[in-house]
Symmetry: D2
Subunit: 343 residues, 4 copies
């Protein structure tokens, strides 16, 4: 249980800090902390927008506002600290993220070299392979789905995906698998994705990760259109195998080799759970930032907070951690833009 | 796009129906449909509770109310029709469902023989094995997580799971795997779960399914505490294998063998997606009921509606389908209680 | 902060209770409490549905399940206790509740004589006056709104309200106001609604409350279709006045006259806030049950929990209180059905 | 029903536009629209963050992404168009917005002269008067509420408000009312707030509005701490009156005097509803942007979308309108920052 924010300190230190505030107030007229019950707290400040304001300046102001804006500010501080203290960052995201513009942010983070492992769901592979070649389209949440179906358009919220995208995916996957299969018959998902990444042309997070040897863990790899091609390939080549067991050992071993680990986890599902369970034997994350739009009151792991994770030891009891309750499609770029190391 | 509810009809039929309503009104004073723009619609009725009211009577009244109560009523009608028309029912649920009392409803449905396939996430295996032997506990959403962690209690919403539960799971799994491994070295998840089900004593959905040969598909089987035991077992016995590819072919083949299929899908994640993608080659579900608490405005599959599924062909364009937007922990028992075939 | 559920007790008492459990276990084989860290907790039990199961039996089983089902069980216990201990119940609800079948439950509760005050938003007056005479209709969330608009149908989620309903409301209101105005020129909202209630024929919560002198507080009375008629009436009769100030004093005074007060609060908005602020000078509710579907992470009062209310003194620190996070359209009937005093 | 986004056009025009795209592609290599079924659609683009990226550049990129980021982009375009076409803007917000840093954005918008009317809930008056003088504090959602209560701190999500803030509000209000009462005995809420605004020192949206004669409508003015002071003042001065009826006529009349009206509506409750009902006689808004975090599947007005509003005629059938489903605390600054006229 947090005692009003992060500003806990022993009595002596408090007096010291208090004095320095008094001094700073007299000299610089900046007295932004506030004293309540011997714990001092920062003030809520009004946001002041400017004409050519930089994103990082807005993010800083959001951090001194309330509600999820404030949590965003805390999350930025936590990410800066995890980088400063060389924690190994595990990045987790769901497939809708890669269907949207967030993929660009993810690619940039991977290329920065600051991400040590990626965990995602199978759909991300579909979206990434397709979008490296063919764009998805801006649609509308209110479209008539039966009509879209007839016109061969698949709706993912307000993103439209014409059927030909999946035809391309089939062709690409089949060709890639035939070649990869010549080398070896059994692959862990992360091995396979490294091979796939090297075959993708164009913008791609799988490719970006493959190029600098960042493993992409995908424990539910069959569950998507690419996964369906894997299953069909198995029907043709019965000795083709995906070894999901070894990859679980791989991610656990990877997590255990670091002194400190950090999780940046967007959305829920198997990607989120796998990231945190893999850090359990490592005694939990030292830093954790979740961005999540579902309600923790349903009891699902997808919607569980970083606080709940502390009861499990998936996040360390004294870890710096925060859950931003909201839509990653808007929040994630704001979270990353102020972190120069990721750009 | 629905034209105000389900009561569309040709002009001639409409006049016929209209006449019959006039007649029924004069003779029986029951005129519960209402005529708007040549489409008639049912009235919203006030709920009248009674002292020993049966659940099925309440459910009926909820169906004539508004908002999600009305959707619940539509869902009950759809489930009754899928049973009447012998559609093969695919039941999908997330692990928090099996951690809660809903597991009892699921077991009862399986035992009824009306469920043809189950799709779930790995956590469900953990909860089912443990709860067959040791109970979970009633807790509180507001508990102090750091304190719980110190006392060895893991929090799942307001369900508490003491650490010794997982020790039991480890022992059970290790013993079961050693025995199963003597028979064979490679298993699909559904094969393995059938073997496991036959070793469980006490109340268990895995056991109930194994006893009447209902396959449990679990495409992300590694992602849980049981899955971790599988991975550790692999370290000891390198020829031990989980074949996730063949199980995808199995579920697709199973779906294709039925004339009609139906999905009852609780929650999201890999369990939901796998259920519907497996019915894609079958041209989609003929009936679909989703119970879901997350917002479709995030664009994730977990929160997507049965309407969105129509654009993909995962649910047939003219399928009877509905999404109940709410918490399965309360809604699912209400949904099942009026279906005598499931009890 | 709750210490794992409601079962706290002194050490001596704990030993006593513990012994009695051991005894009951040996004799009756019912050992439903569980001992964790010297605090005992109830088990999560599987739900077992039966063919003619009564709603109250289902509700009892839901209470031993997890997530919001468990919170529902706690809420039922709290409501039973508030009645047993003669707390004065303040019932608050938003207008969508009265547009749906929940109105029947509300009317039944009022007629039971157990409700001492009602607080609602202005729309409830519209829905109640109209539905006493003319039904609302069952529609669909996915309807084409522009098309509905052209056909003169207003959509409220999946409830459809044809335009003629509002014409009726106008006529009724105008006639009623002309008569009421003959008696007096200035009314508090609760006075006016009592007069209105006496003029309504058919099923109506305003009428039910008027008949047994339960005040209906409606601090935002102008904000609706009935409120618009009040404003238009003012243009004709400039001395016609609605005195919102005195009604605030009235509700505060009413709350202060009781030894204990209890809040049953459905939804948010002005109805919720007014109910709890009116119990502030009374040092807060002794019992509080909220049913609420919006997220507490936005910082709005509409979504605030009973826990947050304790920091404000709107709910007493040691009050029995719970928030059910979910959709009142389904949850509220389940909550009320087991309370015989309300039926 | 929208036909895939906003790009509908007659066949001839489509061919023309198509040609121009072909030309632009050959000459400028920018071919960002995409052709599906004779309707062209924009592509989803990956977001590329830069080191000193301006907020307006990020907002532009978000508009070409998916989900709520895309809706944000549409909303910015709609706001730019409402300003360009001189629509009278009605700005509506709930009290938690003014408790947070958003108040700074609101003040800046008012000062720009582009806002013609404000509609808010009573709590906004409390927060604005207090924060003009005394700051609110940054807290935590997970704080122990009972403990906070004992220490005299009221929690509003992760914003903490010490009790002395409300003592200040009482004093301020009492003094202000005594003076205002000397002038006149009966006030509409908007009149009263103009008087109050002229007495506030420091940063204040009420003051900013008063200074340039922008009316603040507050139909539920009693429902807050300031409202409680009004009620207590009434006990002392029985002829003191708040005339809520005339203010409803005032806002309707104001809306009817403009050729075009636009609504920017943050959150729900009485503020949202009053804004849109007041534009009903005006045949609905020509432009509407909602920012809303609650689910439209509950049937409450608070969560209703701009689409639903079209069935009521509260938003014109052909209005440019969009609902951003998310948290205003982060979204609203992003929405306003690219609108130079508001800065």
């Amino acid at each position: 249980m947090q005692e009003y924010g992060h500003c806990k300190a022993g009595r002596g230190i408090r007096i010291l800090i208090f004095s320095s505030f008094i001094i700073s107030y007299y000299f610089f007229h900046c007295f932004e902390f506030y004293w309540v019950g011997l714990v001092f707290m920062k003030e809520i400040k009004d946001i002041k927008l400017g004409k050519n304001m930089a994103v990082k300046e807005l993010a800083k102001q959001l951090g001194d506002s309330g509600f999820q804006a404030q949590n965003l500010g805390k999350a930025i501080d936590i990410i800066k600290e995890m980088i400063r203290n060389d924690a190994a960052i595990f990045l987790s995201f769901t497939s809708n993220m890669t269907a949207s513009g967030l993929r660009g942010v993810i690619i940039s983070m991977i290329k920065s070299g600051k991400i040590k492992a990626i965990v995602t769901s199978s759909g991300s592979i579909d979206e990434d392979i397709i979008r490296a070649k063919l764009p998805y389209l801006q649609g509308s949440f209110e479209a008539d789905d039966a009509k879209l179906g007839k016109e061969g358009i698949n709706r993912m919220g307000n993103i439209f995906v014409p059927n030909d995208r999946y035809q391309y995916l089939e062709e690409f996957s089949l060709n890639a698998l035939e070649e990869i299969y010549k080398e070896k018959k059994s692959f862990t998902p992360s091995e396979l994705l490294e091979k796939i990444g090297k075959k993708i042309e164009g913008q791609s997070f799988i490719k970006a990760a493959a190029e600098i040897n960042v493993p992409i863990y995908c424990p539910g790899i069959t569950d998507g259109a690419f996964g369906m091609q894997l299953a069909f390939f198995k029907k043709k080549h019965n000795d083709f195998e995906i070894d999901v067991l070894s990859d679980f050992n791989n991610i656990i071993n990877q997590a255990m080799q670091y002194e400190k680990t950090a999780g940046i986890i967007l959305g829920g599902g198997i990607a989120k759970h796998h990231t945190i369970i893999s850090n359990l034997m490592n005694n939990g994350f030292d830093y954790a930032v979740y961005v999540n739009s579902s309600s923790p009151y349903r009891g699902s792991l997808s919607s569980a907070t970083t606080e709940e994770a502390k009861s499990w030891g998936k996040v360390k009891e004294d870890a710096k951690s925060i859950t931003i309750h909201g839509d990653a499609s808007i929040i994630f770029p704001l979270l990353v833009a102020p972190i120069e190391e990721f750009l």
